[in-house]
Every structure is written in structure tokens, then in C-alpha cells.
Amino acid sequence: MQLDAKIPAGPLTDKWDRHRFELKLVNPANKRKFEIIVVGTGLAGASASASLAELGYHVKTFCIQDSPRRAHSIAAQGGINAAKNYTNEGDSIWRLFYDTVKGGDFRAREANVYRLAQLSNLIIDHCVAQGIPFARDYGGLLANRSFGGAQVARTFYARGQTGQQLLLGAYSALMRQVGAGGITLFPRRELLDLVLVNGQARGIVVRNLISGEMERHAADAVVISTGGYGNIYYLSTNAEASNVGAIFRAYKRGAMFANPCFTQIHPTCIPHTGEHQSKLTLMSESLRNDGRVWVPHNPGDIREPQDIPEEDRDYYLEQKYPSFGNLVPRDVASRAAKAQCDNGKGVGLTRCAVYLDFADAIKRDGKDTIAKKYGNLFDMYQLITDDSPYEKPMMIYPASHYTMGGLWVDYNLMSTIPGLFVLGEANFSDHGANRLGASALMQGLADGYFVIPYTIGGYFAGTQLAPVSADDAAFKDASQSATENIAKLMSIKGKRTVDNFARELGQIMWNYCGMSRDDAGLKKALRRIQDLRAEFWENLLVPGTDKDYNKSLEKAGRQADSLEFAELMILDALDRTESCGGHFREESQTEEGEALRDDENFSHVSVWQYAGYGKRPKLHQEPLVFENVELSQRSYK
């Protein structure tokens, strides 16, 4: 099968303008005749719902939480990038584009990334107009700060709660449309299947998480924006409800999955303390602007940090990367921390942590200035660890945070299923093998506010859609099989809880398909996952009933998906024998231990097609063509 990314012709800088002109329009009066389902209400889903309803489409919006305001975009702290060049440092759309392609280790599409950089500026303007309280300078203009992987200050922020403020902005816009009648809202629903009619995405089956009822919804197109799959690692910075379910069910219905092994490990999380732990808390990497990362020079030095004199400290990032220092990209910082801990230089209770020290910054700028920048993060750290970063260095360790892989989409953000659009973290398109800091919020909002409103119109204007109803056989069949699946989970009545399975799968994935991977480990993981999956279907214990609020049952369904999806991640990681971005294959590294790409053989997107339960999925490739940037080995020295 030939994958057509539908990238417009012409020079890079004109592609999006040209494409918008070439996209057919839907007459304003006809828009109200179309119904669109949006699943997920994070930045991408909420902004898409609002923007589509503003245009006159009728939108049905579904979310898993009790309110759309609680989607996990809310937890993004640091900020959102834009190429405004307000700081006069020489930033430009081209530079943001280049940084993003390079940061992604040349595994993203040029055209998509350039569009993202172009749209970045519109996002800031729109969010200011929505009343987002961005940080300001004394003169009242918008403030900027620099962020991991960038040498210009282009990150806009609202204290340490940028994701929260941007999400609440999108949520407000969404609720305004709910009030205006353009959006019907369905909270506490979980997508269990995608329904295709004549090969087109025409609806969904969802489970009402309060009543347990199965519900069928038909529409003219389906937009999935349900985020990533980082929870596969069990301990991650994702929220409890973040899961691969929606995109995995779509994959099983024919939407191809791109680069599933591209996951991002975030370098600045609070280290874990024990078995009971359910999640890891991320500290914004903006902390690396002023914090200095170090470990003791000598392995096994168990003195308290304040008792370790300067000459016994190893500021390993500053040493190794003099020009970027503590601001090297996330994957580089993460692996460097792991290497220190593997060498016995880790600190803290579990010896799995490094210091992030603000003593010099406080001496230089004063405690007040530091508190103004990071006060809420410091408070959060103290709340969790009982230590004050003003007095003692923070301890940090990497954790799974974001997944660059996702459903394959073309330039219109449409998957390989006509009528199924995929936005935000759920798609694969913009971040290549590694995402730069402050770019996730940018992508979610670009997709939702400024891409889908045009491209979905182009789809409607050029597509024949037969009338469908949620009572059609395709819907009833999907609903029936989802019901049977639930009954199966309830009926096992084994001896192991779902959390127990999730923890074991997470450990397998973290050990063998986490920060670094190798052939033998991945193959071992594959066998262990298959065994665990077999045990899951024989020994799972789900309490309660399927007729009311039952968290264990919800999690069991997601875990069943994860146990299948994990295998896809492993297959992809096995197939990609190069290292790139967040995907580090032990076999492919430079003498200095840096990721070594293999452009000759892997300058492509790996796109997997479902072939049936237990069968090896079929691998397709979308070649990546670079006409505007020169592929270089990343170097942050």
C-alpha cells in the first residue's frame, strides 16, 4: 500500500497557504448539516470542538473525565513556544521549524513542522484574546523564557501552570459553544470502538462510566484527540485515565500506527520512593534554566549534598556539553542521568536520582527572583518530598512523559481511515523521534484551532457520505462485541488485580523498551508480554459489577489494550535498529555514547497495519524527504 501524505507542492513557506486555498470549502449554510464527533477534551480536542462549532458544524464532544476541564493537558507546566521574536534574539518561523526538525532528530515531516511553526504565532494571539493570564514584563508586554533545546527565549508561560491556563481557555470556548447549542457534551464516556460504514469513519461506541451502558453515536466524521500512551510504563507523568484505548481500537479498525516506539522520557521528575507509588510527578524542565545538575564525583559518596564541597561535585552536563550545558534536549539529559546512576553516582533513597541545584541561582538573583519564577514548583516539590529546594538541591530522575508515536495522519491530519482525523499527542506527525519542550501545547492547539477547521471542510466538500444511523447493523455489532468484551473481563474472576498486572507490564516496558533498548532485551520483553497477556485473561480479578461506577473494570479494559499494544511498541523498537531522538538502541551509538542515526536505512516513518489478533502487523514505510534542512548528527556540545 502506498501511503500518501498529501503534502502540497511548492516551496515550504507557501505550502499551507496554497493548501488552504486549494481545499474545497463548505458553504456556511451547509455546515450545520454536518455532525462531527470529537473524542477527548485536552488542548487538541477542546480547541477543535470549539472552533468547529463556531463555524457552524454540529459537534458531539466526549470525554473520559467528569468535566472537559480535567483533561491531562492541564498538567503541562512550563510553557508554549511561538516564533514571535519579541525578544529580538533572531528567532523566526524558520528557526522554530529548524529547531523542531532537528530536535526530533530528523524523523518528522518538514511540511507539517513548518506549518506548526507558522501557526505558533496565531495561537499566542488567540489565547491572549481569550483572557489567558500570560506572564508579562514590567512594560506590560508578554514575557518569554528559554526552554530545553533552544537558544532563544520563545516560550510563553502563565506561571508554572501554562497547560492549565491554555486548557481552561479552550474549555471556556468549548463551554460557550455548549451554551450556544453547537456542542453536545458527553462526559464520563470511554470510547470502546470506532464504527466504519463503507470504509469511512462514521461513529463510535462509548461506555457510560456511571451507568455502564453502551451508547452508539453516528456522525459524518470522527476526530480522535485522546493523547498518548505513556501510561504503558505504569509509572509515568500521565494521569490515571490517560490511555491508549481509543487510538488502539481505531488501529484495530484499520487506522495505521506510526512510530509506536518513539516515546519520550522526561529528565526532571521527582524520584520514586517505593512499590505503592502510582505516578511520577514532573517538575517543569524550565527549572533547568537556573538549576545546575550534578552528582558526587565519587560513587557511593553518601554525604548530604550541602556537605559535598565543590571539588567533589560532577556537573556532568556542563562538562560534557559546554554550549548547551544544563539545557540539552530531554533525551540527552535523561540518558546522561541514567548513565550517572548506572555508574553508582546516583543519590537519594533509591540511588536513582541526580541533584538539581539552585544555590548559585539564588546567590546570583536572590531568593525572591527565583521564587517568582519557580515558587509553585518549589512548593510542589516540598509538598511531595518534605524538602525545600531553597535550602537543599532538588533530586530528579527521568520518567516517561510523552509519546511521539501515534496514529499515522496525512497533511490534513486524516488517518488511513477516511473520515477519521487524529489530533495532538494521539497522532505522530510533528515531533519526529523527540519532542522539544513547550511544543506539545503548541501542537495540540495548532491542530485544534487552526488545522482541523479547514481540512475537515475539505474532506466534507469532496466526499460522498451515505446517510447512516446509530441503529445500523455496523453500530449494533460494534456495541455487541464491546459488551461481550466487558462481560469477559468480569467473568474471569481470577486472583490478580488489574493494577498488579499494570505494574508488571510497566516494569517490563521500562526495563526493556524505555530509555535504552537492545535486541536481546526487546526479544525477552516480547516473550514476557505474551506470557503476561495469557495470564491476564485467565487470572484477572475485577470486583463489583459492570452496571455502575467501576474503576477496576475501566482499568481492566485499558490494560487489555495495553498488553496488546506493548507488543507493537516492541516490534517497532526491534525493527528500528538505529538510534534516534528518544529511541536509543544500544547497538547504534557514537564513541561518546550519543544516539547514532542511520539515515540510509531509517529515514522513514514506520507505519504498522493491524493484521488480526496474534498476527504480526504489516509494516509500511513513508519515506521522509528533506529538501530544506541538511541532516546533521545532533551535537549539543
Binding site: 467528569d66 480535567r70 484551532y449 493494577d499
Partner: protein, 263 residues
């Protein structure tokens, strides 16, 4: 090192209620070998694992981000919304603040406007209805002026941010003797009224949001300041004063007419 894994045993007296119409009761459940590094939510996880293995129904509770920002979790612990620790959501309340042998009373957020769904889970959709009534600035996507077109003083931006920090958890309602949602409503009204972009609709917004707040069944502000004390994001009641100012200004000085009840 001082923080070696220490465990405690506590007794939970927890509210169990199978559904909105069912009668609820307190159940006594032992929570054993609880690490002091656990959050309250992780303690409930641990208890639920045991209940599940014992063939019993686990305690239903909402939670999501587990880092104090999504506003999903919440319960009244020993009489305090989100527990006794200041400026803390339930997921960030750590067991180190409890002692071995403690009895801990756990109840849902109670208010007429928040129906119990099951055990500690409540329905807070009334908050969405209030936002729907006016908690926004009416700008469509596209056409916004440059972000720097209107300078906003740092002071105003900071005040707006203080007001905007609300996570919509509902602790203010649960803590209020009359289950008022004034702190929640005032956060959004303040944020938008402070900013120049929000001024054109300020009058309509204040009237409309307050009206829906009333019809949702929330009580009146009784100046007890319990809301401020319980708020995990420390929203100040200065916002309520601002809400009142906006509301009176709208009532007396503007041409806005109270919107018709959308039902």
C-alpha cells in the same frame, strides 16, 4: 538518612453509598502497613487492592492527575475538605501527616448541588453549567490582534493569574456552611473582569453566572471564609469582593437585563 520507609496503621471510617438515591453509611476499614510517603490517594489504592482481593467492593473515588492540578479528586477528611493540610489537594496530602493508630473519617464533598454518585464520587457538573453561562470571552478562533497589541500591567496580569488558578475541585463548596460556590464563580469573574479583553462582557457575565449559580442550588455567601481556607490553590476571598462589585455594578449601572433562565 531521615526518610527511611516508615509505615503506620490507621483506621478509616469511610462513607459508603451505592448510588445517588441509596442510603449511605460509614464503614470501618483498617488500613495496614501504610508507608508515610504515600499520598492519601495511594493509601486508598492500597486499601482497595486488599478489599478487591478479599472479594469486597473497593471504595469508589475520583482522581486523575495525582499532582494537584486537574481538580478531580477530593473528599472531606476529618472534617476538612481535602484534609487538614493547607493548600493541598487530596492527591498531594501525604500520610506523613497522620500518626500510627489514627482514626480517619472520610466523606464525600457534600452539597445540594453536588449529588453523590457513589461512595466518595460526586457530580460537579453544576460547575460546568456556571462556566457555560458566561465564564469565557466571546472570541471566535481567527482574527485576534497581535498578542502584544494591548499591554497589561504586570500587577493586573498577576492578579488575573491568582484568580485563574482555580482547579474547579469544589472544596470551597464542601467547606462552606451554606454550600455556596461564590469562590469558584468569583475566580472566573475576577480573572476576566481584570483583563481588558474581558471588560466588554463583564456586566453580562456577572449577572448570568451568578444567576445560574443560584439556580444550580448553591447557597449564599455567609462570610465564614471557610472556602478560602479549604482552597488548594489559595484563592483569596478578595475575588468574592470583586465579584460582588461586578455584580452590583452590572445590576445598577449597566443596561444588561438578567438573562432568561436557560433551564
Amino acid at each position: 538518612m531521615k526518610k527511611l520507609a516508615k509505615t503506620i496503621n490507621v483506621t478509616l471510617k469511610v462513607w459508603r453509598q451505592p448510588g445517588p438515591e441509596a442510603k449511605g453509611h460509614f464503614e470501618v476499614i483498617a488500613a495496614k502497613n501504610i508507608s508515610v510517603h504515600m499520598s492519601f490517594i495511594e493509601m486508598l489504592d492500597t486499601v482497595n487492592e486488599q478489599l478487591t482481593l478479599d472479594g469486597k467492593d473497593p471504595i469508589a473515588f475520583d482522581n486523575d492527575c495525582r499532582e494537584g492540578i486537574c481538580g478531580t479528586c477530593g473528599a472531606v477528611v476529618n472534617g476538612h475538605a481535602h484534609g487538614p493540610q493547607k493548600a493541598t489537594t487530596l492527591c498531594q496530602l501525604h500520610m506523613r501527616h497522620f500518626s500510627d493508630g489514627d482514626e480517619i473519617v472520610v466523606e464525600p464533598f457534600r452539597a445540594r448541588a453536588f449529588k453523590v454518585v457513589k461512595d466518595l464520587v460526586v457530580d460537579r457538573s453544576a460547575f460546568d453549567k456556571i462556566i457555560q453561562a458566561g465564564g469565557y470571552i466571546s472570541v471566535n478562533t481567527g482574527g485576534a490582534p497581535d498578542g502584544n497589541a494591548i499591554p497589561i500591567s504586570q500587577e493586573i496580569a498577576n492578579k488575573a493569574m491568582d484568580a485563574a488558578a482555580c482547579i474547579g475541585c469544589g472544596a470551597c463548596v464542601a467547606a462552606c456552611p451554606s454550600a455556596s460556590a461564590m469562590l469558584f464563580v468569583s475566580g472566573k469573574i475576577s480573572q476576566l473582569a481584570l483583563l481588558p479583553q474581558g471588560k466588554p462582557e463583564a456586566a453580562r457575565r456577572a449577572l448570568s453566572m451568578v444567576k445560574i449559580m443560584d439556580t444550580c442550588g448553591f447557597g449564599n455567601c455567609s462570610n465564614h471564609r471557610e472556602c478560602e481556607n479549604a482552597c488548594p490553590k489559595e484563592l483569596s476571598i478578595v475575588n468574592i469582593a470583586r465579584l460582588n462589585r461586578e455584580f452590583f455594578k452590572a445590576g445598577f449601572l449597566s443596561d444588561e437585563i438578567l438573562p432568561v433562565d436557560p433551564g
